[in-house]
Subunit: 338 residues, 2 copies
């Protein structure tokens, strides 16, 4: 894997590491405008609300989703003003989902910072999440493109329904791989699809390119979430900020545990942990066995297949720096360790 | 007050009482289409989600907000198809806010039915509320009118920020009347404004009528919320489904308690209840004193002033059955007892 970042060569913008900054090179200036737009959220007239806004703006992030929007928008057209607004709305929607996800998961920190629900309580977090969702939708209206606006609202529906399905299927060891794929499409890949699709629409791409960039978004979104689920087993707990095996602990089947169940259907500790007994020894055993099984290697194969599909979608597009950056992004996702 | 309903004369559609059915007479057929649209929410492919949807659709309601949209839309134009969709979206947005409000208030029942958070837990309620919010926004997109879509998203921002302010100002006895007015505009009147304004836009009303119908919505929305706040003190607890004085109990100042504080600034039991001691005897005393004070009569005057403003806004519109129904609605709001 030949990644292009060199610490000495690139200017890192606030919040981004050198790897992502290098990939984002063709859109760094516009990504800075996305940051500036996020800062306009600040609200002097409502000081209580402003306190919350300040908190979430300081929480950082890799800005992968807005980068996809900006890159998708510039495959055919050099610059489109509305794509900056769209990219900011996409990131803001992502921030809103994190606020509610952290609330329902009762998470204490995210990226080393206290969550809104931890700092202000879950009630404020619910209402503030609503406010941020609505703000993102208002920003999308500035594009004045009804297709884009509709796609954005549908995405919020998909994100929420994906999380609902995760809740309803918790501690159900008989959910199949297809159920998992559908769920992670809705909770994660849907927003990546929309990031690619809306960027392409606003960048005046022809319909075929719009569909290719939507497919690209789908594939990297799936890869991104599966990598997240693998890191939940593989990652150093200091690194990812939560204990190893936290999904399984919460009764959530992800690809590593599903693959492990498929391969070893009999006498499986995951099934025992999910049974009414809920014996923590079985959880510990399940995590250990999954980490040391070939299930993890199988998951990496699935990630690579999705990244290969993403790269195939890109081959349908005109060559150029944006298409090249989108390609590098697939490699970055495969190499990510946190 | 001369209200036009006669039990024997009108056909009551499901969920509505005879009083509101009579007022809604010019739009009853279209209001039925709003009900039909709400039923399309049902989702066979996601049975868990469908269970939640079925629950909220059975929860009833007076449909005041969609009625305002439909009536506003037909002041200038006989029928507009998009206004039915808009009215359904307005009601759905209202339902979404109730799901989250009940979650943050930890309410057990609404209109005699268990709340989503009570039946499925607050986590599901948060995510399901998000889903319903997003669905309403998707429906609005069908109008293909960007002004209407933007106004709708801004309204969600206002609704959420109004609730946030209520939380932040709880147990603060020094918040002024202007703070209350701003808060109830955002948490309640904003949606009534939008119901009137968007109905007018979609009904091809001229700009002046759009503004009049927006003002009308503002005034009845303010009246509606203040009546709610008065009923919290006056209403029979069986009737309104919560204990008398529940706002004050939760540390929320509303117009009756604000008026009472303004009139009797010294040695006031509200201030004592809001102090760190939080003595329940002071709460009981405050509720008793407010119920028997002239503060309640003052609040009725404020409600009447808002209704008079609403009626003044209607005088700027062409006469006709829709304008007349909007006028009757102001009287209904003044006479409401639950």
């Amino acid at each position: 894997m030949n990644l292009p970042w060199r610490e000495d060569k690139i200017q890192v913008i606030s919040g981004l590491d050198s790897a992502t900054s290098a990939i984002y090179e063709p859109i760094l200036a516009r990504l800075q405008r996305v940051e500036d737009r996020l800062l306009t959220l600040r609200n002097d007239s409502l000081p209580d609300l402003d306190l919350l806004i300040k908190h979430i703006l300081n929480s950082g992030g890799k800005r992968v989703r807005p980068a996809v929007t900006l890159l998708a928008s510039s495959v055919h057209e050099e610059q489109s003003d509305t794509s900056v607004t769209m990219a900011a709305a996409i990131e803001l929607l992502h921030i809103a989902t994190l606020i509610h996800d952290d609330t329902v998961d009762d998470a204490e920190t995210r990226r080393g910072v206290a969550t809104v629900s931890q700092k202000w309580g879950s009630n404020i977090a619910v209402l503030f999440g609503d406010y941020v969702f609505a703000t993102s939708a208002t920003w999308v209206c500035e594009t004045e493109n009804v297709r884009v606006i509709r796609r954005f609202s549908e995405t919020i529906m998909e994100l929420a329904s994906g999380q609902i399905s995760e809740f309803f299927s918790s501690f159900d060891a008989f959910k199949a791989r297809s159920d998992y794929e559908d769920r992670i499409y809705r909770k994660t890949a849907s927003l990546f699809c929309t990031a690619g699709e809306t960027g392409a629409i606003l960048g005046s791409a022809p319909e075929q390119s719009i569909q290719s960039l939507r497919s690209y978004g789908y594939s990297i979104g799936m890869a991104f979430q599966i990598m997240d689920d693998v890191l939940d087993f593989e990652g150093n707990s200091d690194h990812i900020g939560k204990p190893v095996g936290s999904d399984l602990c919460n009764g959530v089947l992800t690809l590593p545990s599903i693959t492990f169940l498929e391969k070893y259907p009999d006498n499986n500790p995951v099934r025992k942990w999910f049974s009414d007994a809920r014996d923590p020894e079985q959880l510990k055993l399940a995590i250990d066995m999954i980490m040391n099984s070939d299930a993890i290697a199988d998951c990496y194969c699935v990630i690579q297949k999705h990244c290969a599909s993403a790269q195939a979608s890109l081959r349908e597009l005109p060559k150029g720096p944006s298409t090249e950056s989108l390609n590098l992004l697939t490699e970055y996702i495969m190499s990510r360790t946190k």
